[in-house]
Amino acid sequence: MIRSTHWPLLVTIATFVLAYTLCAYQYPAMLSTRVLANLLTDNAFLGIAAVGMTFVILSGGIDLSVGSVIAFTGVFLAVILRDTSIHPLFAFVLVLVITVSFGASMGAMIHYLEMPPFIVTLAGMFLARGAAYVLSTDSVPITHEFYDTLQSLYWKAPSGGRFRLTGIIMLLTFAAAVVVAHRTRFGQNIYAIGGGLSTARLMGVPLARTTIGIYATSGGLAGLAGIVFSLYTSAGYSLATVGVELDAIAAVVIGGTLLTGGSGFVAGTFFGILIMGLIQTFIVFDGTLSSWWTKIVIGGLLFGFILLQKGLTWATTLRKKPATEFAAQS
């Protein structure tokens, strides 16, 4: 029998398959590998950021700083490659160190100051965006031969689709995240914290280390997303990727992760990203729909999936109630 925790994931996959079938039925060209490859390339940075967001939400938190960190990373890379002669790879390492420690310090504030993640990461969002502004308010182009090399790396499918490096980085990130979430102690600790903070403490989960680790991971993945985004646009702009954190949260929710934490799958987020990408692709294919329908449809999907989660939680608690009534009250 299918466990009830698997239901949201299955519904997400079914939604994606259904939506893709409907799109392909209307526009057979949607089935080409080009569309598929672009779906991966265009959403690579969002997907990587959403992986970090999945960990944060699984632990019952939220990270609003993602979009700003991506913008900061882009501007930082652009400025440092313009003003110094260091190799981009070294710049990548540098920026990842910065973003990981940025995330870690937010995690430390959340844990040690016992403040809600919402407001701490809000401060982080302002700080990262502000730091990006301070570095440069203009869009700084990146012209380095190493960037050209990276951008020209792709695997061309027989029918013309180009699977670029950035899309592959996203797939690898998802694969690594699935392993971390389900096969490591860190991953199990995340689920434990999301299931209940005091329970996790009683179980002996190292709260400080795990909380800091979660936000450091999210910060680092946002940094990686920023690197991918700068490869995608070949520029750094401090006003870029405003509101990406909302898209990432939406993808995680559509992917079936419970926003209260403790239940969900990294793989679900992947399909959440694909569904959101599909909506945009469909609007491009259609040509008569205006871009704002993307936001409305994503909002509607968000609502639908939240309702589904509520319904499932409600159904499971009803069934379990006679057995756990005492436990729930104490």
């Binding site: 407001i119 704002w292 609502f303």
Partner: protein, 347 residues
């Protein structure tokens, strides 16, 4: 009795007033003419008036946001609701309706958005951050749907008056937020409403068992928040004589939340003070004004805001409060009453 409640209110807002005075003094340092207010062409002019006027949208939003946060909730959708309300008002006057109809229409739409949020939170029991996120994401799309993707401009003098006009020399937005703030504060404090809202924020389960209709109350605080957001949206649209679905009220929800937090209201719900939140909104606007007047690059605006939030977080943090309490308690034996108060505030 009366004077003691005034004294209690004053004691409550003292930290905020000190911060406000400090920031205003900074303004004075960088721009000595800061406090000069002139009366020209039938209206008041001056930097101080500007702070009050430009702070109107945040101040309006934080009235509703204070109540929402007091119930342990949060309303992320206010910026999007502002955009929707502005778009509705603009499209109504463009279609030839009077400004009164446009204002009422916008307010009705705002309250509808509030009821939607309220039902999601109170009836469907979805966490507030998530419930209001739906409208935050979809709201700007809806606003663009109303304006059909353009910046809808209008010339209706009645509506424009709301944003940039004056009444006996005072800019209308100032009058609107001061009046609404006083009215809402009076309603919640002169009736039991405020106490009931606080009860829900502290413990919803027990307040319901005590007979409080928490569903209706929670829905109505989101409704008030929607109303305030709609009013702010109309003012912003009237000020620029156009409805910009993309940028109207962008990130203002965060400023409003920040104002509430600076006002010393706990994000974990419970006791609240609308007056303190309004002073918080003025503090934010005064900080913006310092940055502008000092000629510092506006890029630093966000960094400074972030540092302010972090400082407040550290002060508000339960851990730090507890540590301070221990230090104070061990330093000298305090009379029994203040100790009790300090204990309450740590919880």
């Amino acid at each position: 009795m009366m004077s003691s409640s005034i004294r209690a209110t004053l004691r409550r807002v003292t930290p905020q007033l000190i911060i406000l005075a400090a920031v205003l003094f900074l303004n004075f340092l960088v721009f000595p003419d800061f406090f000069r207010v002139e009366f020209q062409n039938g209206r008041l002019f001056g930097n101080l008036i500007d702070v009050l006027n430009r702070g109107a949208p945040t101040a309006l939003l934080c009235i509703g946001m204070t109540l929402v946060i007091a119930t342990k909730g949060i309303d992320l959708s206010v910026g999007a609701v502002m955009a929707i309300a502005g778009a509705v008002a603009a499209s109504l006057v463009v279609d030839g309706y009077s400004w009164q109809t446009a204002l009422l229409g916008a307010l009705a739409v705002g309250m509808l958005c509030g009821i939607w949020n309220g039902i999601l939170v109170a009836v469907l029991r979805i966490q507030p951050i998530v419930a209001t996120l739906v409208l935050m994401v979809a709201g700007r799309g809806i606003a663009q749907l109303v304006t059909e993707g353009t910046i809808l401009t209008f010339v209706n003098p009645g509506l424009v008056h709301l944003g940039s006009g004056t009444v006996v020399g005072i800019p209308t937005p100032i009058l609107i937020w001061v009046f609404l703030g006083l009215a809402v504060a009076a309603i919640v404090r002169k009736t039991a409403l405020g106490m009931l809202i606080e009860a829900i924020g502290i413990n919803e389960g027990s307040s319901r068992m005590a007979g409080i209709n928490s569903r209706v109350l929670i829905t109505s605080v989101y409704l008030i928040s929607g109303f305030c957001a709609a009013l702010a949206g109309v003012i912003v649209a009237a000020d620029i004589k156009g409805a910009d679905a993309n940028n109207a009220g962008l990130w203002l929800e965060l400023d409003a939340i920040l104002a509430v937090v600076i006002g010393g209201n706990s994000l974990l719900g419970g006791r609240f003070s609308i007056l303190a939140s309004l002073i918080g909104a003025l503090i934010i606007q005064s900080v913006n004004s310092v940055i502008l007047l000092s000629g510092m690059p506006p890029e630093f605006n966000l960094v400074i805001k972030a540092l302010i939030i972090i400082a407040i977080l550290v002060i508000q943090s339960p851990t730090v409060k507890h540590a301070l309490y221990i230090i104070r308690a061990s330093a000298q034996p305090l009379p029994s009453e203040p100790v009790k108060e300090a204990k309450e505030s740590t919880q």
